[in-house]
């Protein structure tokens, strides 16, 4: 019989991917123009990790999910009113910047410290989940650093599949080139899994789940500890990529037309 897991999901917030973003230089270094005004979402890769955590916790009775997030408190609260309807979790909130321009090492240190402070968390049951990559411009490095801080040596990135055997072994599929997966067997927790997209759809909104989450969500937000991550990493500049999305809506174009346009674009 598999032991219940203690699953900790690290997830920050990121601007809603539909928004137009513009880097600006502020007194603290690079920032995104109007970032606090724009709508935000839970970082999409981390959100997939959360769905996988919820799925696993439901499959292994007795398991528990914590969501650990460092984000500006008002923004996190707003995002969680959407996420809290989808999956069950207990929140551990840190009030700090969500900008990917923060020093990843300092962010990782704060997250690791918060995880170590979770009452009742058992290391021999710990699965540390997060996003393999990040829409928050943090390049997905933070999770690995958190794992190192916590001394978790079994780390897997770009995970699409996790299967738990009756013997407690973890079968983990990591993406490799060419659409293939590297399959690993891990003896058990503690382990770190940086999720790619997984295979689960976004769960529907459930008012009951939301109500259950609210019992812990608001108290956790209210006692969110402010975290300063200034200094450390220095940026020499930030610019938009030269290649930018140019959106057009064309319906009912033929395959030949699409191919011809792509070929013309490749030829430059």
């Amino acid at each position: 019989m598999t032991q219940p897991f203690h699953i900790v999901v690290c997830a920050g917030v990121a601007p809603d991917p539909l928004q137009t973003l513009e880097p600006v230089s502020g007194p603290q270094g690079p920032a995104l123009k109007n970032e606090m005004m724009l709508p935000a979402v839970l970082d999409p890769w981390a959100a997939h990790a959360l769905y996988e955590a919820d799925h696993l916790a439901k499959a292994i009775p007795g398991s528990k999910v914590w969501l650990v997030s460092m984000s500006p408190k008002p923004k996190l609260q707003q995002v969680l009113m959407t996420m809290a309807q989808k999956v069950g979790f207990e929140l551990v909130a840190l009030d700090g910047p969500a900008s990917g321009f923060a020093d990843y090492l300092q962010v990782a240190h704060a997250l690791a410290e918060a995880i170590e402070g979770i009452a009742g968390l058992q290391r021999d049951r710990l699965l540390l989940f997060g996003g393999w990559e990040s829409a928050g411009r943090a390049a997905g490095t933070t999770l690995a650093l958190v794992g190192e801080r916590l001394g978790i040596t079994e780390q897997f990135q770009a995970v699409d599949v996790l299967r738990v055997g009756d013997d407690g072994l973890l079968e983990i599929h990591e993406r490799t080139d060419g659409g293939k997966h590297q399959v690993s067997l891990c003896g058990g927790p503690p382990a770190l899994l940086g999720w790619a997209t997984g295979n689960l759809p976004e769960p529907p909104n459930s008012p009951q789940t939301g109500m259950v989450n609210m019992r812990t969500l608001m108290p956790a937000l209210q006692k969110a500890r402010p975290v300063g991550v200034s200094g450390g990493l220095q940026f020499t500049g930030a610019t938009l990529p030269k290649q930018q999305r140019a959106t057009r809506v064309v319906k009912d174009a033929s395959v030949d037309e699409i191919a011809a346009e792509l070929a013309a674009w490749i030829r430059g």
């Binding site: 809603d16 928004q19 137009t20 707003q78 529907p204 008012p207 609210m214 608001m218 108290p219």
Partner: protein, 592 residues
């Protein structure tokens, strides 16, 4: 309301609110400050909002903020992103700079006189005086999205109320003429509403009080109107589409922050417009296309593009960049369209309750005030331990509303725009009469009548055979007719620049950022195919703010991934054949 007949989960709470806008914001702000109550109890208050975020509203907001300042007496506009005090306010009559506008002989004569008078600048005449009922000096310019976000964050931080976005309410639960709560929309259904493998029946949320603040075209408000009818003598017949864009003004633009320009006269005489300047060189610019513009191919987006190119505005906007776009329906009937404000177990607040003041051109502050008044009433009833019966709600909420400035000004405004049924000049005279007489005088309107046919409306400008051909060609292309007709009438092509002047689809993607969550049914359906087949005009397609409706057979085709839930199709169908239900998604912009 047709829903799947299945067993549904049930939850019981004290208060459930439908929709999160300024009215529910005012209500939640008022009650959340008093919770826990004096007796130590902690009522459970939930609010369900259709949009994916509490900041995805649309409004062109310049407001005196009297109601808002009841809740926030020390409000500093700088605390609310994109808000700023009004510093400059002007009213302009816009002349037709391209020669395509439909103008009566009287207007043409007035235009000619103005042109020879030398009083024009940039094809516009600045009114020397702003009527006191219209002026907003001392008020502020805002973004409704940012204001809602600011309010919602504060409410939720109290822990006294929960606001759940992405949760459309399908219907009120009505039993023996008492409202018992709401039913959330089913999830895991196909576009036709049939259960799929992931079916999740919408939950029943039962509540002692249901607060209905779902706006002018919300499905719950309309359900209550259909069930209970309107009070004797009231009618809802005047509507408008408000469409706006938020623009990064070009470098070097010299419009001061807090500038407010009101316009009328162009692109059609019936269309009012505005330009408001926010902090950081950002402006909101938009128009109102009213129901009394009785053009069967009325459109908002095309008119908006011509509006911003009027010389008075274009000199400021040229070189700017659209950063946001959106549209909504406005209930222009105001006090005259007021529904039953209360009943056993429910209360109506906000625009859907007839609070918009069409004389002042103000809706957000009035909506907020109705929420504050209901909040005070609910607190009083909680203190009394009295139930939310119709009598008790009338004694508290309705009487508060009836004795406030809200009611006094609403009564003065209720016939102010009736004159527009007779034309623009009578309409403006009627507004002036009502405004200066405090509503004692007004020009009477006309009885409601069918919209003219396409052929009748354009009989002086386009031969019927040519009109028929244009219509056939547009249908073959799967497009609305308005562009072809406007081009034929002399409106110039839009010189797309990809920044500010762009196709409607690009505005949806880049400005509105429209999305539709999977797992919900189509929320726009036609009730009777035969009615659509007989309809000659398809005004629903023409007015659709987002090209979500397109010509089709036997009914117009609907694409929910484009719909911004403005609800214009509802009141533009003179046969009342549009079944507009609760749906998820819509705009993903927080700046409108």
């Amino acid at each position: 309301m047709e829903m799947q007949a299945v067993e549904r989960a049930r939850m019981d709470v004290d208060v459930v609110c439908v929709g999160f806008g300024p009215a529910v914001g005012g209500f939640l702000t008022t009650v959340s400050r008093e919770i826990p109550l004096e007796d130590g109890s902690f009522p459970q208050i939930l609010c369900y909002e259709r949009a994916d975020d509490i900041a995805f509203g649309v409004s062109g907001v310049v407001t005196k903020g009297r109601g808002i300042r009841v809740s926030f007496p020390q409000l500093n506009p700088a605390d609310v992103p994109m808000a700023t005090p009004v510093t400059v306010e002007k009213v302009y009559y816009l002349l037709d700079a391209v020669g395509a506008s439909r103008r009566s002989a009287a207007l043409k004569a007035a235009d000619a006189a103005l042109r020879v008078s030398g009083a024009l600048r940039d094809e516009a005449f600045e009114l020397p005086y702003i009527p006191p009922f219209l002026e907003k000096h001392g008020g502020m310019v805002m973004s409704i999205g940012q204001f809602n976000q600011w309010v919602g964050q504060q409410v939720m931080m109290t822990g006294a109320a929960q606001i759940w976005p992405g949760s459309p309410v399908a219907a009120a639960i009505i039993e023996d003429d008492q409202v018992r709560g709401v039913l959330l929309a089913d999830q895991g259904v196909d576009l036709a509403g049939n259960a799929t493998g992931a079916f999740q029946p919408g939950m029943e949320v039962r509540a002692a009080l249901t607060v209905v603040g779902d706006g002018p075209v919300g499905p719950v408000g309309r359900q209550l109107d259909a069930h209970f009818g309107l009070p004797p003598g009231n009618e809802q017949r005047d509507w408008a589409v408000g469409m706006k864009m938020v623009v990064d003004l070009p470098e070097g633009c010299n419009l001061p922050q807090g500038t407010v320009l009101h316009t009328f006269g162009y692109p059609e005489p019936e269309i009012f417009g505005f330009l408001y300047v926010h902090p950081e060189n950002v402006a909101s610019v938009g128009i109102f296309v009213p129901s009394w513009l009785e053009n069967p191919v009325r459109t908002s987006y095309r008119y908006l593009q011509h509006f911003i190119q009027h010389p008075l505005l274009w000199k400021h906007l040229r070189g700017g960049r659209m950063r946001s776009w959106g549209a909504k329906t406005l209930n222009e009937s105001g006090r005259r369209g007021e529904p039953w404000l209360v009943g056993d177990g429910y209360a109506r607040i906000g625009e859907g309750s007839g609070s918009t003041n069409v004389l002042a051109g103000s809706g957000v502050d009035e909506a907020w005030m109705t929420g504050v008044q209901l909040g005070k009433a609910v607190l009083e009833l909680w203190r009394e331990g009295a139930p939310f019966t119709k009598d008790n709600l009338e004694r508290t909420y309705t009487s508060l509303r009836r004795t406030s400035w809200l009611e006094e000004e609403a009564l003065a405004a209720q016939h102010a725009r009736d004159g527009f049924h007779r034309g623009v000049v009578p309409g403006m005279l009627g507004m002036a009469l009502a405004g200066f007489s405090g509503g004692r005088l007004h020009l009477p309107g006309l009885p409601e009548h069918p919209m003219p046919t396409l052929e009748d409306f354009y009989s002086q400008r386009i031969p019927a055979t040519e009109l028929s051909l244009l219509k056939q060609e547009a249908q073959a292309r799967g497009e609305a007719l308005h562009d072809a007709v406007m081009n034929r009438c002399g409106w110039p092509d839009i010189p797309y620049d990809g920044q500010l002047l762009m196709t409607q689809q690009d505005a949806l993607l880049l400005g509105g950022k429209v999305q539709a969550a999977p797992g919900y049914a189509n929320h726009v359906r036609m009730k009777d195919e035969e009615v659509c087949a007989r309809c000659g005009s398809m005004t629903c397609v023409e007015i659709c703010s987002a090209q979500a409706l397109s010509p089709g057979a036997p009914t117009p085709a609907f694409d929910r991934e484009k719909c911004i839930h403005c609800g214009a199709c509802i009141w533009n169908c003179e046969y009342h054949n549009v079944d507009f239900r609760a749906g998820a998604g819509g705009l993903h912009s927080a700046e409108n």
